[in-house]
């Protein structure tokens, strides 16, 4: 019998669609938004929104960081049943981020100065000023929205949270169209529809407030016990630290690149760059969800040391995502003029300039995808540092200096600046891959790309079996044979085989119609035998199973409990995971 990929592949497909939908909903709003502005207001307005977006990003930092960090912390606290503490974290972060929002709203009076600084006083200034003025004014609404988006999902209402994201994006896009088309608000209208979208969609949250499953309650954080709230606030902040770093890097990159492009290459360069940035969002929309499955399934499989499972998951994720990317690449390469036209760039010279630039830019995408994969994969497999190195290089540290160097070099050599900038994107992705490679080689000399042990340190028996009595009949025999080959005491081997048979028979008899495959894994560690089963039968927790057995009645699970040292159960990925532990002697 051999291990096969059936269960893992099945789960990949089950998690793929929701993951893609979530990413798609989030990115779609951004992309269509940009397309609407480009088509209705023109390329300059589109560039202005992209420039002004930096302020939007900065304004979102407190809400985003406290929302993500706070909701993760609250999730952990609720898991520990520390409801009071959870309420304090929730109330404190909500209050602080709304206060930050109010401060940003007051800062809207500085928008002329900010716009001037962002554009260097160029022709985009007026459009940028209008956009950031409304954006800043709407900061309290956006801050509140970011809090709810994160907390509502953690607080047992994930469907309300995603409904909120979707509804606010739909309202935003509809208003975008109406306001841009029928009023003279211009870029201010684009900002206004975003604020109104998130504001009006809050009606959806009534369902959350009324939900019987809601656990969180607002408690005024500055009264008695305010000091305790301070500690909880720090907890939320430290949990949100990786998010904070990512956002700071992203904002720094945007700020740096926008400033450089507007000043050195000009408005047309900014328009082309905006299209490229949205092409990346499009790739993210289509491929990000596939890679996202590693975050949702990979960590669990890695935690179980199922290296075969991880390899199989990675293989499928890479095949699917590169297949999708190939299609995108072909379209972008063959029809770049149609793609830029989607963003309202149809005029002859600008269109052909943008098409040429886009063709260079798309060469960065295969490398981009690999880096995106590395970030997610290393984060899910406890290589946080390596993941952080890739993210920081990719989002900021590599691209910024390279963009400046390439553009300056092109200027000195009399080459096209825009094309040089595009080449810098390709180079930065490659540099990221190379640095990650060097880091890996220095730190983990002999290990491969996935940093999984090539040879198992422990002896492992790893197979998949059909849920069928005749097929699993061989398993106890194979277990005894395997144990014998690895010097395990014959008595222990025999007991383990008995336990294995009971568990397998139980899955086949009571797992229901759905149970058709069982992954079986035995690991001989220093002093324990670890036996793990994974099956797709109906949820069954053998550790929570008890029967009033009469003196002479025999129940398989009870037999297993009496002959083994420890039994653990988890229902993860909609699969039963049962682990049995036994001392080696």
């Amino acid at each position: 019998m051999e291990r096969n990929e059936k269960l893992i592949r099945m789960k990949l497909w089950q998690y793929l669609l929701p993951s893609i939908m979530m990413t798609a909903a989030l990115q779609m709003g951004n992309i269509v938004d940009t397309m609407l502005v480009g088509n209705i207001l023109g390329a300059d307005a589109m560039s202005a929104v992209k420039v002004g977006m930096t302020i939007d990003n900065i304004m979102e930092i407190p809400g985003y960081v406290l929302g993500v960090g706070g909701s993760v912390a609250v999730g952990i606290l609720l898991g520990k049943r520390e409801r009071d503490k959870a309420n304090r974290v929730f109330s404190m972060t909500l209050t602080v981020s709304v206060l930050c929002g109010i401060v940003f709203a007051l800062l809207s009076v500085t928008s002329p100065v900010l716009a001037e600084a962002l554009t260097g006083g160029g022709s985009l200034t007026a459009d940028v000023r209008a956009f950031i003025f409304v954006t800043l004014l709407g900061a309290p609404v956006i801050s509140l929205a970011l809090q709810f988006m994160n907390y509502v999902a953690v607080d047992n209402n994930p469907s309300v949270a995603s409904a909120y994201v979707i509804v606010s994006n739909v309202i935003n896009l509809a208003l975008d169209y109406l306001i841009l088309k029928y009023t003279a608000l211009g870029t201010a209208g684009a900002a206004l529809s975003t604020v109104l979208g998130y504001g009006i969609a809050m009606l959806v949250l009534i369902r959350y407030l009324r939900s019987p499953k809601r656990m969180l309650k607002y408690v005024f954080p500055f009264g008695r016990g305010g000091l305790a709230s301070g500690a909880e606030f720090m907890l939320a902040l430290s949990t949100g630290m990786p998010t904070l770093l990512y956002m700071v890097f992203l904002t720094t990159k945007d700020l740096g690149l926008n400033t450089m492009i507007v000043r050195m290459i000009g408005n047309d360069g900014m328009a082309v760059y905006t299209v490229c940035a949205n092409v990346v969002l499009l790739v993210e929309l289509l491929v990000g969800g596939i890679i996202g499955t590693i975050a949702s399934i990979g960590g669990v499989i890695y935690g179980e040391k199922d290296y075969f499972g991880i390899r199989s998951l990675v293989k499928h994720v890479l095949i699917y995502s590169y297949a999708v990317l190939l299609v995108i690449l072909i379209i972008l390469w063959v029809f770049p003029q149609y793609v830029v036209a989607l963003f309202g760039i149809t005029e002859g010279v600008l269109s052909s300039m943008a098409s040429a630039a886009l063709r260079i830019f798309v060469c960065s995408l295969p490398f981009y995808l690999l880096n995106k994969f590395m970030t997610t994969y290393y984060q899910s497999t406890e290589q946080t540092k390596l993941s952080g190195i890739v993210t920081s290089l990719q989002t900021c540290v590599a691209i910024l200096p390279l963009a400046v160097v390439f553009t300056l070099a092109a200027k000195a050599a009399g080459l096209d600046l825009l094309n040089a900038l595009m080449a810098a994107f390709v180079a930065s992705e490659i540099v990221t891959i190379v640095i990650a490679f060097i880091y890996r080689k220095l730190k983990y000399k002999d290990q491969g790309f996935l940093l999984l042990p090539e040879k198992e340190e422990e002896a492992v028996y790893d197979i998949s079996a059909a849920a069928d009595l005749e097929e699993v009949e061989k398993v106890p025999r194979e277990i005894i044979g395997f144990c014998k080959a690895h010097q395990v005491d014959a008595g222990r081997a025999n007991l383990l085989a008995v336990a294995a048979e009971e568990m397998l028979v139980n899955i086949i008899r009571y797992g229901g119609k759905k149970a058709d495959t069982i992954d079986i894994n035995l690991r001989i560690a220093d002093d324990t035998l670890l036996f793990r089963l994974r099956d797709n039968g109906i949820p069954f927790d053998p550790t929570d199973y008890s029967v009033d057995s009469g003196e002479y009645e025999i129940h398989g699970i009870e037999v297993v409990r009496s002959i083994t040292d420890r039994m653990q159960y988890m229902r993860v990925l909609d699969l039963n995971h049962t682990v049995i532990e036994m001392k080696k002697s």
Binding site: L469, E470, E473, P476, R477, I480, A490, G491, N494, L495, A497, V498, E501, E502, V505, E551, Y552, I554, H555, G556, V559, S562, I563
Partner: protein, 102 residues
Amino acid sequence: MTITTKTEGTTATIYVEGWLDTQSSPDLGKEVEGISEARALVLDFEKLEYISSSGLREVVAAYKKMKARGGTFSVVNVGSEVMDVFRLTGFDKKLEICPAER
């Protein structure tokens, strides 16, 4: 698994060889059904290598059957591996089980 039965007077001895698992246990049950006359039943497990809970169940069923009939029941020559299973499930105390002599 191989099962052989020898009857001497009112005592029936069933020799079980090999693996008594989910698939093979019902055969032992059928064999026990067959010996309806005996006053004493002995299961000889000298050559039994493995017993699962379904095997245990058949052993207990045989015990109950003999008890209901007012007869005697014992398991003899139980090897150490199979004995472990009886011991850990507590049946070494409830039934008359004699481990194999070493």
